[in-house]
């Protein structure tokens, strides 16, 4: 069964550094998403992406964040200058219609 994959599983970075989180959505899906989950808190929506552009974004998704679909398979989330409060689990999701399927997540630790 096809799955959403994410790399790396764990990323440790210094405050102020740039990070790129990578996702490979399920191949025939058209909608892509990034969510994050700060430890012990609820899953929060960051951004959705359709037809090669951002369709929705939350207030969390400020100018420090960007997304890109550089080729036909990858979907990336870039954080330009990481802050301590960016430490969280970041989940990628994709869906063809109603149901979103989530990847295993990338745990980002900002020191």
């Amino acid at each position: 069964e096809p799955e959403v994959t994410q790399t790396p599983s764990h990323q440790v970075t210094q405050m102020g550094q740039e990070v790129i989180l990578r996702c490979v959505p399920i191949s025939n899906h058209l909608y892509f998403y990034w969510y994050r989950q700060i430890l012990g808190q609820k899953v929060e929506f960051l951004v959705s992406f359709y037809n090669n552009e951002i369709s929705e974004k939350s207030e969390i998704f400020d100018d420090q964040f960007s997304v890109e679909r550089p080729d036909g398979s990858n979907f990336t989330l870039k954080i330009r200058s990481t802050k301590l409060e960016d430490s969280a689990m970041y989940f990628c999701a994709s869906n063809p219609a109603d149901t979103q399927y989530f990847g295993p997540g990338t745990r980002l630790t900002v020191l």
Binding site: V43, E44, F45, E56, A93, T99, Q100, F102, G105
Partner: protein
């Protein structure tokens, strides 16, 4: 705006007993409702969804949920709990009529099934 409430942070149940994990929602229109399960250090796994039709929906691993429009609830149930059901459960909602497709999640309920 849409929101989800999971009033119980923790639910404990004995193996073999029925379990219920509660969820209420708020949307401006009609909802799409979902349950996801998260095992330790894992992603969110889809369990079941309500889109339209029968109010009782069945999903993976013997779970089911009942959509109650008047009570704006979508409680997750299972007739006989297993120790392996122990995990974090999230309810999520999306407004069916809206153009936005993102999900709004509840705060999660930690289910512990005791042997």
């Amino acid at each position: 705006a849409q929101s989800v409430a999971q009033p119980e942070d923790q639910v404990n149940v004995a193996e073999g007993n029925p379990l219920t994990v509660k969820c209420t929602y708020s949307v401006s229109g009609n909802p799409y409702l979902f349950w996801y399960v998260q095992y330790p250090n894992r992603g969110l796994q889809f369990l079941l969804k309500y889109i339209t039709g029968d109010n009782l929906v069945k999903g993976s691993y013997g779970f089911e949920a009942e959509f109650n429009k008047s009570q704006t609830s979508f409680h997750l149930k299972k007739p006989s709990a297993l120790v392996s059901d122990s995990a974090l459960y999230f309810c999520a909602v999306r407004d069916r009529g809206g153009s936005a497709r993102q999900l709004t999640f509840g705060s999660g309920t930690q289910l512990t099934v005791l042997p």
